[in-house]
Structures are given as C-alpha cells and as structure tokens.
Symmetry: C2
Subunit: 234 residues, 2 copies
Amino acid sequence: LKVEVVGIEGIPEIVEGDNLGRSIAEAAEASGVAVSDDDILVITQKVVSKAEGRIVDVPPGDGEAKRRVIEDEAARILRRRDSLTIAETRHGFVCASAGVDSSNIPTGKLSLLPADPDRSARRLRRAFSRAAGSFPPVVISDTFGRAWRIGQINVAIGIAGMDPVVDLRGTPDDFGAALRVTTIAVADEVAAAAELVMGKTLRVPAAVVRGVDYVRGRGRATTLVRRAQDDLFR
Amino acid sequence: LKVEVVGIEGIPEIVEGDNLGRSIAEAAEASGVAVSDDDILVITQKVVSKAEGRIVDVPPGDGEAKRRVIEDEAARILRRRDSLTIAETRHGFVCASAGVDSSNIPTGKLSLLPADPDRSARRLRRAFSRAAGSFPPVVISDTFGRAWRIGQINVAIGIAGMDPVVDLRGTPDDFGAALRVTTIAVADEVAAAAELVMGKTLRVPAAVVRGVDYVRGRGRATTLVRRAQDDLFR
C-alpha cells in the first residue's frame, strides 16, 4: 500500500511552440525517472500555458489593463472584494482572477489558463508517449483557493486517460449494511499530492504519481465542475 | 524530489477507550513501516471518533432523529437541499451534515467529529510517540465535499506538530521581480495524498507521508478555517 510522487527535474524554461510533452519525456529519461503506463503524469498549468502561448502583455502595474484581461477570461464574476476577484471561467472553474496570473512569468506579462485544458492534456499525453514510449494518463494541475478554508491547493484542470473520480456509491461499507455515498475526486487528490514535490522548487513543473488506484477512461476535468444549477454556493 | 505515502495495515477495529496511538504504532511496527520524526502521520477521523466514543445511537431509518443530531452538531446551517445539509460545525468547518456520518459504523449509530480535533491530534501524537519512540506531526483527515467541484477529497481537521500552511508570500518568483502571493495548505494536501492509499481499502485508517517540506510548529487545523467575516461564500 504505497503511493510515490516523484518530481521531474531538468525541464528547460518553456516558450511558445515548444514540444512540452517531449521535453518532459527527455527530462524524465535524463534524470532516471521511469514512467509506466500505470503512473499518472502531472503537469502544472503555467508551463502548459507558456508552451501554448497563452501569455498576454500588459503594462507593469496597470491594474486597469489586468482587470480587462480578467474580465475577458471570465464567463461570470461571482464576487469582488478589494483586489480579489472570484470568477467562473469559460470552462466552468471557479477561481481567483479567472485563472489570470502574474507569477513566474516575466514582468509585464500575464498567463491565462489553456483554452481547453482537457484537450491540452490529450495532446501532451500523445507527445509524451511518442518520445517516452509509455502512455500514462495526464493531469494538468493548477493552484486554486477554496471557499471556507485558508490556503490554496492544487486541483486538476485538465485530464487525459483516466476518470476524474472514483465512484464508491453503492458499494457496501465495512459493516456491510450501509451503502457508501462517497465519490472521491481522485484527480484532484493526485494534483494535490504532486504539489508536495513540485512546490519545493519552482523549477519542477511536472511529477509522476505512482501506485494510485484510478479508473482508466476518457474522463475530462470539466466533469469535475459542478453544474451551476446544482451548486449551492455559486 | 520524492514524496512517499505508505498505508499502515493491521490496525484492529477500534472501540471507545482504545489507545489508538499505540495501536497505530504497533501496527506500523508489525508491518515494517518505519516512522521517523520528519514523517507525517495521517489518521482518519472515523477511527479517532470511535476511540473517543463520539458515536451516538439513532433508530435505523429515523431521519428526524438524524436531523436533530446534525442540528446539535451544527453551529449554523448554511444551505439545505433535499436530504443534503451543508453546515458550519462548532470548529468552523463547513461540510455536509456537520460531520455527522453513518458510513463504516454499525447500523443504528452515527459518528460525530471529535469535539476538539486539534487536541485529539496532540493526544494521538503523544500516545504514538510513547509506543513508537519517534515523534512525527499528526494530521487527522476527513472526507469533505467542496463548493463548485464534484467529488470529495480529504482535508485536515486536526493537526499537531506542524504548521498547516507553507507561506510563500513575499518570496521572489522564478523571474525575481514579482513576489509570490501563494499560501499553500500543505496539511490539506498531505491529507489528500494520504487518501490515495487509505481509500483503497476501508481497513487502512492511517498512513505515513514521507518527504514533505513542512514547517514544524504548533499549528492548528482551525487556523485553516477562513473567518466567516472574511469569507465570500458563507
């Protein structure tokens, strides 16, 4: 009963047009990190957005320009307080600034979420596979705040090759009588576990998670989004 | 750059009054799982509540009796829809049914959250240490739903020996210019990672997480609760 999370070191600084999947495969090979079909490859959003050119220029310190970028990325603004904007993105994710972020990119630039992170995950999976030989599921992770709790954790915003949840509903519990009602968001837990190695240094934008019980499939991270009409807190 | 999560097998069924910390130490030793001062010991809420006798009797199928138990445990009901009640507990946690749960306990009983999970974590840490010799931080985890996203993940509801967050605010990012604004809820990510081994079978109520960069300290899980007046979604 063991799960391992191994950071992939040595991935070069990524710019628009780079073959990120291949860069990750080469870095894994060079650093001796074997990646099997059963492992899960977790890649952070920032490096995916860089490879896809999802970076825009704004004059440094121009809060009004940044506000316009956030509004362009938002499908709906849910809350504002001071400089904080909680928005629903076009994908349905609820996060600060609609995913627009100024950290770890050069001054005067902002990164946007990938236009279709599930599609990005599928592409990265194929590119990684062509270079590495193995064909693991891919999770694209981002660092989101939460309602009710302090601090941010990594969650899955793009998925390829696995179901985002493990559905335990209807399986008997330890006492056989009650049926469990739990649906575990395993892709989010995998993203959170990966952050434990990726957060140590900013230079590790990918990690391998080994030993997780997940269900292979054509899952999408967008199915992790609760529909607005079912959501009691939107 | 590696984090390992190892489930502790062989912990016996726990009943009120059991020395849970010692049972975990004995099971770890018997199954060859070494636990060092630097590791983090994660223990699920259910087994802590059992050891502390935080179990109440309700007639099976008596929805009204269950509703009264939930209201007793709740400081405030935030939302209701059909059989779903989202409540704030006396600790400040926001979760379904104020933490009242009928899974994995005998029919006719409900488990309640520990009265003071941070205190439970400190006690378990001392009891584990007396039996095992090592003195790792302890995280008590529970499975919570979230706003906006489908599925549940494990979070920290009790902490001893570590800070619940790693505060990166004010540290320079990769480009040196911008200061990062991120506070990572590392205790929640550790709880989520532990679920990846504990969820595999219901018989593994504890796990060791190795290799995490955390800050030793007298942190409390209740500091992960966003104050109601700061919360835009309560």
